[in-house]
């Protein structure tokens, strides 16, 4: 039980690192498109690790199914909204930042 609990904590820690790096990317990256990269990818995998960690700690299959469902719905919502933001950026003719 404690092994499961501590490995769960470990997974949640990794997930938080991904969230942190996604936020750093959001601040540091130069334009709307590169910032979208940072947000969608880092947050999706970060949430995946948090869900994994919580599943290890929960010990109840119904909770695990609910957590996986939350992850799946967030994946769909974030990739769809990411595509919509990027395509509206393209429509408004926002030029992607390029290396000087």
């Amino acid at each position: 039980m404690t092994i499961l609990y501590h490995s769960g904590t470990f997974f949640i820690g990794i997930g938080l690192l991904f969230f942190l790096s996604g936020t750093v990317g959001l601040i540091r990256f130069p334009d709307i498109y590169t910032r979208l990269h940072a947000l969608t990818k880092a947050d999706n995998i970060g949430l995946g690790f948090v869900v994994c960690g919580l599943s290890l700690q929960s010990g109840n299959w119904a909770v695990i199914v609910k957590l996986l469902l939350i992850w799946l719905l967030v994946l769909i919502a974030s990739s769809a909204s990411c595509h919509l933001i990027a395509s509206s950026g393209m429509e408004k003719k926002i030029k992607p930042w390029t290396r000087p």
Binding site: S21, Y33, I45, G48, A86, M90, R99
Partner: protein, 177 residues
């Protein structure tokens, strides 16, 4: 899509039966997971499951996709592995002291037919390492990449292959088309 599988009415009924059966199974399982083992919850659960099954069939009636279960089990590890690589890639670029970005646009023509498969493909592009689907016009996908030095085309073709396998198709050889 799917016209070839409707050659006779009996196979059409069989396919419809299978679709209803799988939906009932999945939605009942979801209800059980959400509501718990209390039997009284099925008082609401049964109508909800039936309603959702009907709605799902109605909304997806235009695309009679035949999902291949074996391909789904092959798609999930591929998807997880690519998501992990994408996350690590972004983490590396965000936290590095040097400027590691060399963004640019890549244009790709997909062979996937219009409908669910193409939408799944476009949504999954954003989870591959270094790529983001910026625009979809017909079969033309505009992809934004974080680093033009990455093998964007190879990655996307592999994703396209996996998505095509989900519905029992193959992308085949691109040059022959």
């Amino acid at each position: 899509m799917g016209n070839d599988s409707c050659s006779s009415t009996s196979t059409a009924w069989k396919i419809l039966g299978r679709r209803i059966f799988f939906r009932l199974l999945i939605f009942s399982f979801l209800w059980y997971a959400l509501a718990g083992s209390d039997k009284a919850s099925w008082l609401l659960g049964v109508p909800a499951v039936l309603l959702v099954t009907a709605m799902s069939l109605w909304l997806a009636s235009s695309s009679s996709l035949n999902i291949h279960l074996l391909a789904v089990f092959r798609f999930i590890p591929f998807f997880l592995h690519q998501s992990l690589r994408g996350g690590i890639d972004v983490m590396h670029r965000a936290l590095s002291f040097q400027q590691l970005l060399d963004p640019g646009l890549v244009f790709y023509t997909t062979l996937l037919a219009e409908g669910s498969a193409r939408i799944l493909f476009v949504n999954c592009i954003s989870l591959l390492p270094g790529t983001l689907s910026a625009e979809l016009k017909g079969d033309q996908v505009t992809i934004h990449t974080l680093d033009q030095g990455m093998p964007v085309w190879a990655n996307i073709q592999r994703l396209e292959y996996h998505v095509a396998a989900l519905i029992g198709r193959t992308t085949g050889n691109k040059k022959s088309l």
